[in-house]
């Protein structure tokens, strides 16, 4: 054995350091123990956060990745450790979040024998990963990690899983780290076709009522400045998807609101009145489009998209501009005429005023006694920092927070969009906060979702991550209850919750906590929370049976959006 040889487990850790990983989230166990042993030697270079469940580790890595733009890293052991990552992998896959997950695996001579804590994690995780691999030899560890990081962060980002057998971790090998710079079956750079830009510009320059829909692709491509420049020159109104929020400040004059099932009234209604629809880095999710047969049929669609598999998947387009929207938006900005659309903009204003009067005002400044979720977010807006990060779980509170939170900066929106994973918020907020303790991270959760991963309060306690947790408690699985009310004759089947004393739980974790149930106490409580140095738990008891509007019911068209 040469002196230069090191253990596979050390190769794992040194490879992560070589990839500039600063922090990893994980949970130890038998098959990953050699890596944990190695971590002990490198804790000054690579911080490890011990979560209370592997699902917490991967959601934390997702939160970290979404806020930082870097690759999130998590590690787990074989068998149950690995299977507990699956929800997070599926979530990261559908929301294009760059992750590298490392799992331990039983020794290679035991593979396929139903050994203790053996599971076919490469098989199980295949549909939920951008790429995965099993490493059985020490010499393959570093190349696999290099390739994994490259795949996770390049092109359309996504999660990667690397399963490493225990013998590969304990065997000795040379360590010469070579980062991956590309390989033949995977092309990340798509040059923009000039003819597509010309066609798109031609349509836009002829348009009377053009309309931009932007999604997370703008954030992932770092194209916020290009989007803004394009909108300012072209004068086109723009609406965002759930994950597109933050790509353009909501204070921008071209910003007209949010799309989809619980988006704003005008952006949904006017989708069916525009003549040119310019989709930028978004994938026409069914929660955005409603009934596809009645979606923007009058419009010619221009689709700026990096992933060829998204073109014509849900909505047929007239012009596809393949490639990074950072490149295509810049070219398109140069090719379009400077313009304004005052009449068309006025239509958005007119419908927005209707929404304000019927939905927004009663939500934000209610006159009835019970607290609304909307007024809580309204108060948060008053005191939050411009670059505060909002992390939400899934359900009514998610839609209300999204509707009313005032997004001003990119990468301030962290939520489970595509998969709709309840239990996402608390660990994701921890991960987001671990990236930067100086940023405000506000975690809004419901009483259902928080109980799916409430154990991560322990991780918040141990790391002292100053996450501000706002629990909107209506003692219901609110979104399901809303659907039961609207579509199932108010048959509230298993949606009412008998909840624990959340304040006691938070205090048991040594987290400062406060409960608010009347309007007069709300403002001060939110101020107290946001100025508090350290983690904080604020429970707000809200109206039990409030609904989220506007709403496009399943199977309805965007123009059938209901205000009540």
């Amino acid at each position: 054995m040469k002196d230069s040889m090191i253990r596979g487990a050390d190769i794992v850790v040194r490879s992560l350091i070589a990839e500039n990983a600063e922090i990893i989230f994980g949970y130890p166990g038998g098959a990953i123990m050699p890596v944990y042993d190695a971590l002990h030697d490198y804790h000054d270079q690579l911080r490890h956060v011990l979560t209370r469940h592997e699902q917490g580790a991967i959601h934390a890595a997702q939160g970290y990745a979404r806020v930082s733009g870097k690759v999130g890293v998590c590690i787990a052991t074989s068998g149950p450790g690995a299977t507990n990552l699956i929800t997070g992998l599926a979530d990261a896959q559908i929301d294009s979040t760059p992750l590298v997950c490392i799992t331990g695996q039983v020794a290679s001579h035991l593979l396929g024998t139903d050994a203790f804590q053996e599971t076919d994690v490469v098989g199980i995780s295949m549909p939920g990963t951008k790429w995965n691999i099993q490493v059985r030899r020490v010499e393959d560890i570093a190349p696999a990690i290099a390739k994994g990081f490259y795949i996770a962060k390049s092109g359309r980002p996504g999660p990667v899983l690397i399963d490493i057998t225990k013998d590969a971790q304990t065997n000795f090998g040379d360590f010469n780290y070579e980062p991956c710079l590309g390989f033949r079956s995977y092309r990340t750079h798509i040059p923009i076709e000039k003819s597509a830009i010309q066609e798109a510009a031609f349509l836009i320059n002829m348009a009377k009522r053009p309309y931009v829909l932007f999604g997370q692709g703008v954030v992932l491509g770092g194209a916020e400045t290009e989007l803004k420049a394009f909108l300012e020159k072209s004068g086109i109104p723009a609406a965002c998807t759930l994950l597109g929020s933050g790509a353009l400040s909501e204070d921008h004059p071209n910003y007209v609101g949010k799309l989809g099932m619980h988006g704003n009234y005008a952006p949904n209604m006017l989708t069916n009145q525009c003549d040119i629809l310019i989709a930028v880095g978004m994938r026409f999710d069914d929660r955005v489009t409603g009934d596809l047969k009645r979606y923007a049929k009058q419009a010619k669609v221009i689709h700026l998209e990096l992933d060829p598999a998204e073109i014509n998947k849900n909505v047929k387009c007239e012009v596809a501009v393949l490639g990074s929207c950072k490149d295509s938006l810049a070219l398109l900005t140069a090719a379009v005429n400077k313009n304004t659309y005052p009449d068309w903009m006025a239509k958005f204003k007119e419908l927005s005023d209707q929404e304000k009067a019927t939905v927004i005002d009663p939500d934000l400044t209610p006159t009835k006694p019970g607290l609304t979720m909307g007024e809580v977010i309204h108060q948060v807006n008053k005191y939050k920092a411009d670059d505060a990060i909002l992390v939400t779980d899934v359900g009514q509170h998610q839609m209300i927070s999204w509707r009313y939170f005032n997004y001003k900066k990119p990468r301030t929106q962290v939520t489970s969009g595509g998969l709709g994973t309840m239990g996402f918020a608390l660990p994701a907020a921890l991960g987001a906060q671990m990236y930067d303790f100086s940023r405000q991270v506000i975690c809004v959760v419901g009483d259902g979702g928080i109980q799916m991963t409430i154990q991560e309060l322990g991780t918040i306690m141990q790391t002292k991550a100053p996450v501000k947790i706002v629990l909107l408690n209506n003692n219901f699985l609110g979104m399901v209850r809303q659907w039961q009310q609207m579509f199932f004759d108010k048959r509230y089947s298993f949606t009412e919750l008998d909840n624990p004393d959340f304040i006691k739980i938070a205090e048991a974790y040594n987290i400062q906590a406060q409960k608010v149930s009347v309007r007069d106490d709300l403002q001060e409580a939110i101020e107290d929370m946001l100025i508090h140095d350290g983690p904080y738990f604020l429970e707000v008891v809200v109206e039990k049976e409030d609904n989220v509007f506007p709403m496009i019911a399943t199977g309805c068209s965007v123009e059938e959006v209901r205000l009540s």
């Binding site: 098989g123 295949m126 790429w131 795949i151 033949r184 079956s185 995977y186 014509n312």
Partner: protein, 166 residues
């Protein structure tokens, strides 16, 4: 719905076939036949998939297959634009070999590729319709076993895989 041949040019890595087939199973689309072999370039595999679907669906399948990291290129063709062949083997008891069967073998251009004390094995290459026709006839001759391969195919257009493998 039409019959299409999908070609997938891929790196030879473990699990790649699984990654491809789950794209079909996810949408509930049946693969009619599948063959995999090494291509004429070392380390590069070629998978041929026969599927019955609408063209829109096939385009989406091909796009999603091509998105797989280790897939180099995927494309699809209608039956008219590929030259394809399948091979079928038929096991017949020796006791049923007679002049009638000999005539059938000649007519169908089949050949005997193995003769054992108890049985003979006939081979026929062709399109499915041809191998199926012989199958129906041989059922009347005490057919013991039958096996048919998936389609092997080459495209009619003059484009080689070298252009994708740089």
């Amino acid at each position: 719905m039409k019959r299409y041949t999908i070609f997938v040019i891929t790196e030879n890595f473990i699990g790649i076939l699984n990654r491809i087939t789950i794209i079909f199973t996810r949408r509930g689309i049946n693969i009619d036949a599948l063959t995999a072999s090494e291509s004429r370039l070392e380390g590069i595999h070629r998978i041929t998939i026969e599927v019955t679907a609408s063209e829109d669906t096939v385009i989406q399948l091909v796009n999603q297959i091509e998105k797989i990291i280790d897939v180099i290129k995927a494309f699809y063709h209608e039956d008219e634009s590929v030259v394809y062949q399948e091979i079928a083997l038929y096991k017949i008891p020796v006791s049923r070999l007679d002049a009638g069967l000999e005539k059938i073998i000649r007519q169908h251009n089949a050949k005997i590729i193995a003769a054992e004390p108890d049985f003979v094995v006939l081979e026929l290459s062709g399109h499915k319709e041809q191998t199926q026709e012989l199958l129906e006839i041989l059922k009347g001759y005490g057919l013991l076993e039958f096996a048919r391969s998936g389609r092997v195919a080459v495209a009619k257009r003059m484009l080689t895989i070298d252009s994708f493998v740089k």
